[in-house]
Structure formats: C-alpha cells, structure tokens
C-alpha cells in the first residue's frame, strides 16, 4: 500500500466542506507558513522537496518560483492551471471535485511565497460544476479568514478567483492560458519573455498545475525532507495517475513512484488488469501527447529492466524505446484495439485544438488527420506511412508552442512501434474496414543481447 499525501482524506464524508476539511487538519500549512516562515523560506522548502510540475513537463517547481521577477511596485500573480484537457487526464478534476479546499490551501501558501495578492484558477469551461464547487470552497475560506485582507494577522492579503475557459485545449499551454485569462483568443505567446518576467497583464506570473499546488500542502506540513524521502531519485513525492482505457478499474490513483508499471496495471489496488480476459497490447503512460509503447517495451525497458512508474524509468530509452510520465494520463489498449484508429482520433483531436497561429501546426495537423483517415479506411498507400513520418518530423520542434510536438509524437511513436499494423491496413483494405487489427506479438518478451565480454 503506497503512501498517500493528496487523496488520503478524499473519502472522508463531507471533506469538500470547510468544517470537515478543517477538522481533518486542513489549513495547517497556511498557519505554519504565514506564522513561522518567510516567503523565501516557503520557496526554499519547495525547492528542497524536489517537487516537479505535475502538468506534464515535469519542471522543478521550486526553480520556477525562483525565476519569478520581483520588480518594485509591480503586482505578481499566481495562476493555477486547471484547464485539464489532455486526453487520458482527469486527475485535477477529481482533486478539485472531492477536496477543493486542498487546492485553496495550497494556493494561499503558494501565493504567500510568490507575493501574489490576487490569484486565479483557470478551469476548463466544461467543468461547470467543478467551478461551482471551487467557488463555494473559496467563499467558505474567505468567511473563515483564510482569504481577504491581513490573513491571520500576517499582513498578507490574498484573494482567489475562478475563471472558466470556454473549450480550448491550447489554453493548457501557460501563455495561451494567460491570453485567455486576459479575454483574448488562446494564442500562445512567443517566448521569451517568459511569464516569470512578463505574464498576466504584463506582470510577473507563475502558472502551476492543480496537483503541483496541492502538493505544496504536504510539503509545508511535513517538511521538505519528509516529502523528498517518498519516491525514487528525482521523482519525489506522490503522483496522481488517471488510468483509463481498457482496464477493470479506471480512476484516479495516487502512487508514491515506487511501483512498477506491471503492478500498476495488474494489481487490484490500482487498474485491476485488463477486462474480458483480453491481453495488454499497448499503453500511453502519460496523456495522449506522449509516445505510445507496445506491451513488451512498457513493462520492461530495452535494457530488460523492470519499468517503474517514475519520471526517469518511463522516459528510459528516450523516444526510441521509452515514453514520458507527462500529465499522468494512463491510457491502456487491449488486444482488440486498433492503433491506427486510435492514432487517428488523437490526430483529429490535435487538428481540432490547434490554434492556427503558426503554419506547421495549423496545416500539418489537418494533413496528418486526413492521411490517417485514409489508411484507417483502407484508402491508404504504403508511401503514406513514410509521408506521415516526414510530416510529423517537420512539425516537431518547429512550432511556437509544444502543441506541435504533442501532435507529432503520438503519430511518430505509433509508426515507430506499430508500423506493421499500418502496413496491414494498406495491404488489406477490405478487411481493415471490417475489423480491428490485433497483432499480439507486441507482448512477446524482447530479446536483450548479453553484453560482450572484453
């Protein structure tokens, strides 16, 4: 049984109300921070904890906070990124829906560390009821003196507002999010300048994921050293994984980054295995943007080592034989699923969500979608597979924001690992329209050559 820091109390009845949350020890971190720590000490604690951004990129949070410019007389802002839209990811929703006060508590402490007197939660527009839950929680916190002027007599003022988006995946990119928060189209900005220098309304801004900010609470409560003890190496603390696809128990799990991928998929504590007696075919371990892995490479690295649910282990082998932890959206495909069709839906998603600002992404995503549709429906050519590879290669790295990469990687990885499945679609156009293709050799053990003795 792994240790839980965020979801430990998620099942306590009434935890979404202030009374229960407070009774269960809520808001201790705010008391501790405001009464006994300076803002810089809070930042220092977060640095020491080794906490990495939980939104997808895994950037060290403390370092990000350290970059925040602090010019005299200019307000600074904390914006929480709750625009959770990456296919496969639904962890932040769970956190906000069940323990909204945890986010509010983390935000107050983080705002104190960053000197933000006005902090925003940018939540995706579709989460209407979650926004209402948060607003209720903010009202309760304000009524009990945790928000407003001179909190706990510390002289620190802070208020939190919820801002609902209106349906745009791109607004999960931090500068597009800021544009959207300013009431504009969600076009990502060209960096530099980075938000830490020029963010919301031109002021220094930190944008953090919901889970990242929630993790500040246990870090301050238990101390950075305690937090850093959990996990392995640079993957400290716990991580929320939202598991979905073809598994028995889809849902949000908090893991302490010491378990293997195999255990995560098959143990009853987590995903509970693959339903209907089917076999594991492939998995996208960190949200739709990260590379898909066939079962054999998922469970073991190319070196033959057991793959663990950590940032480092999931990335072992780079993009050739590894993937990424990403946002923790764990999508499992069983042996009846078609990788081409799945990749097509992702390509459609990215085409739909491209902001259209820069040319490789605007034009390339739609092109890939059309070619994938042709292949999926038996109208593809062998050369289309190479063409797809070339298109994704020309999008990747050449766009303003990471959406280009996010659109390119799933296609690249699908071709890299499942090329025979694409070819099968081309060679069997009739059959491809009638049934999904399910080759099972993806689960065969991989051959690891013995090292040559010198």
């Amino acid at each position: 049984m792994g240790r839980k820091l965020l979801l430990e109390k998620a099942n306590v009845p009434g935890i979404c109300t202030y009374e229960v949350y407070r009774r269960e020890g809520g808001y201790r971190s705010v008391e501790k921070a405001l009464k006994s720590l300076s803002p810089d000490q809070v930042t220092e604690e977060v640095k020491k904890s080794g906490l990495r951004g939980r939104g997808g990129a895994g950037f060290p949070t403390g370092m990000k906070w350290g970059f925040l410019a602090k010019p005299e007389g200019v307000p600074r802002y904390l914006v929480v990124n709750a625009d959770e839209s990456e296919p496969g990811t639904f962890k932040d929703r769970y956190l906000m829906e069940f323990i909204p006060h945890l986010l509010i508590e983390g935000m107050i402490t983080a705002s104190y560390a960053l000197g933000s007197n006005r902090s925003y939660i940018y939540i995706r527009g579709e989460y209407v009821w979650v926004a209402e839950i948060l607003e209720r929680a903010i009202d309760e916190a304000r009524a009990n003196g945790w928000l407003g002027k001179n909190i706990l007599g510390s002289g620190f003022d802070c208020d939190i507002y919820v801002h609902r988006g209106a349906g745009a995946y791109i607004c999960g990119e931090e500068t597009a999010l800021l544009e959207s928060l300013e009431g504009k189209r969600g076009n990502p900005r060209i960096k530099p300048p980075f938000p830490a220098v020029k963010g919301l309304w031109g002021c220094p801004t930190v944008v953090n994921n919901v889970e990242t900010i929630a993790a500040v609470v246990p870090i301050i409560n238990d101390g950075a050293e305690e937090y850093a003890k959990i996990g392995i190496g640079k993957s400290t603390g716990t991580k929320l994984i939202s598991a979905c696809g073809n598994i028995n128990k889809p849902g949000v799990y908090e893991i302490d980054m010491t378990i293997s991928v195999e255990e995560f998929i098959y143990s009853d504590e987590y995903c509970g295995g693959i339903p209907a007696g089917k076999k594991l075919k492939a998995c996208i371990p960190g949200g739709s943007s990260v590379p898909i892995l066939p079962a054999n490479l998922l469970l073991k690295t190319a070196k033959g080592e057991t793959r663990m649910m950590t940032y480092e282990s999931l990335a072992d082998g780079g993009f050739v034989s590894g993937s990424m932890m990403g946002s923790g959206g764990f999508i499992v495909l069983d042996d009846s699923q078609c990788v081409v069709r799945h990749t097509y839906t992702l390509a459609r998603f990215y085409r739909h969500e491209s902001c259209g600002q820069c040319s490789p992404c605007r034009e390339g995503t739609g092109w890939m979608e059309k070619i994938l549709w042709n292949i999926e429906t038996g109208k593809g050519k062998m050369s289309d597979i190479d063409l797809l590879w070339d298109i994704q290669r020309k999008i990747e790295g050449n766009t303003i924001c990471p959406l280009g990469d996010a659109a390119a990687w799933p296609v690249a990885a699908a071709i890299r690992h499942f090329r025979d499945e694409f070819e099968w679609h081309v060679l069997h156009p009739q059959e491809a329209q009638q049934r999904n293709y399910g080759l099972m050799h993806y689960a065969d053990p991989i051959h690891v050559p013995n090292p040559v003795m010198a």
Binding site: E353, Q357, R362, E363, W367
Partner: protein, 374 residues
Amino acid sequence: MSSDTKNTIPTVKVTIDNITIEVPAGTTILNAARQIGGDVTPPAMCYYSKLEGSGGKCRTCLVEVAAGSAADPRPMPKLVASCRTGVMDGMVVKNITSDKVKDARAGVVEFLLLNHPLDCPVCDQAGECHLQDLGYEHGKEGTRYEFERRTFEKEDIGPYIQLHMTRCILCYRCTYVADQLTDQRVHGVLDRGDHAEISTHISKAIDNNFSGNMIDVCPVGALTDKTFRFKNRVWFTKPVLAHRDCPDCCGKVTLWQRGDEVLRVTARKDEWGEVCSYDGKPGWICNTCRFDKKAASDWVIEGPVNVNRHSVISQGHYSALQTPKETLPEVMGGRAPKLMMDIHDVSEVNKIELSQLPGAATGSDFNSPAPKEA
C-alpha cells in the same frame, strides 16, 4: 523606454553563416542578418519591422543557434524564429549553412502552400508575391498533398480592398495595421486552427483613411487593391517614384504606370518588401493618395524605381540597354550571387551575348558558332 539609454546602447558581435557583424544589443537575429544582406537573410513572411508585435508565426525564418552567447556557448535545442530572438554577444547562428534549417524551411514552405490555391495566373499579386519568391527559393518541387484544398466563403469588405481568404497565410500583419494605424479595427482573425480566417464576421466595409496599407503589408494576394483588380500584370507596368503634398500622410509613393495612365498607387517598398521609412517614420500612405489620385498630373514624378534585377518586374525594363557596368556582387551588397546552376558551364550557346543580337534571337543564332571576343 527611458530616453537616457538611447545614446549608450552597447553593441554585440554576432556571427551568422560565418560572417561576423556588430549590432546594437537587443537587435533580433533577423535584423542583424538583414544588415549583412544577401542569402544570409532568412525569409520572413509574417514579421514586419514596422508593425509592433508581428512575427514568430510563419516559421520561415527559423535558424539554428549553434552557440547561444560567448558567456554560455551551448547551442539552443530547437530552431528559433530569428525575427523574435534577440542576439547575444558571441552568438553563432547558422542559416543557409545549416541542413537542419534548410530542411525545416522546405517543410514550412510546403505547409504554407498546402492549402494555397496556386491561382497565380489570375492573382493580382503574382510577380510581387512573397510566397512565390519563397516557394521558388526555399521550396521543393511538387506537392505531396492529395486532398481537396480549403476554401472559404467570400466576403466583401468594402469598395477598396479585395479579400481572398483562400490565399491567406495568416501572417496577422493586416490586423496589426488596423490596430496600429487606424482608429478602429473591424476585421480580425476568426475561428481557429485550419479554419482560422481573416474576416469582419459581419461583412463590414473596412473604412479608414489608412486601411489601404493592409494591401501593402499583405505578403500574398489575400488583400489586393480593388481599383487595380485585373487591370494589368505588374510586370507590364512601369513603377515610378512620385510625391505630392498630402495633409494626411508622407505623400511619397510609387506609381505603377502604363503609358501615362496611373494604374495603381502604393507605398514605396524597401529591399525587404516593407514600406520605406522617412525620418525614422514608416512611410505609410493614406487612402486618398492610394485610391483617389489616379492621374499623373496629381503627382510630381521623380524618376524610375530601381527594380531588383531578380524581380520579374524588371523584365522589359532592361531592353536595348547596355550590359550594366556593376558586377553582380556590387549590386548584391558585396556578396556573390547564389547560382542555381552556372549556365556557362553547361552550354556553349550561352557564350552568345544576347544583347548584341539585332531583334529577337532565333534558332539560327544559336546554331552558328559563338562570336569571337573582340
């Protein structure tokens, strides 16, 4: 910006394609490269130095930064948009010396042309179109796109400007013109992704005395001059410099004439296709000058425009002239021309000096041996 820093801007050294120059700190890579000129300058489809906030979108000006600065000589992990990346002291940039850049740029050209209608034969911009130039210089032959091209509903935006959305590459320049030159912006970028379009949403006429400058900044034929529409091909017209005393604008223009008839009036453009500056101010022109002053007598004519010899517009302007005395590098700012193929290496025929032949050359001219050098 405080004015006291104006005189003390330090300079930094930057190396672009092995050519080192010194530029004021804060200069972008693209503008530094423009100071060198020639092939070293990356193409720019969306950046426009006179429009604040422009650039970064088209990705044609991507370059490789092989060393970030003297202090931190690490290379940058990705190609960067040279129009929006400032130079650092000791930065080493690779443009045409980088295969990565050439490959990525060919990709961008392909993306830009993917849904472009390629209706150059009926497009008024043909001959002065930056997308044509870009495709010619940096693109690959043929297209690999086999799907129906995107089309848009036609929209009327008033009596002066013709909007052809299918040709648009979404550089956003015209929106910056509306924001920065006119008092009210009525058009913008609507919708998103591959459906994004320039539109007023309500077919409103764009009516402002400086709105015509959108035509000048448009790199393609998406915004063209309705008063010139289908009147002539630019390479049949004679561009001359002219001015008039205008109460609203600088009054310095290029007249595009055929005989004595003024077919079109535009702002004067520099070698990068941007409007020229006068006394540090961009020479935007007003709609009165552009659309209403269509008689030669409205203008004081200064003389012919110096047309770049690479431009198709120069066609017909060098007939019966003697061979220019300057050598090519002199014309090109000291740099040797980029030759696709040296025709003298492959053909005896090309030893013939065409300008010496009376009348048009015929097959028989090429069958006779090359004339001896005098």
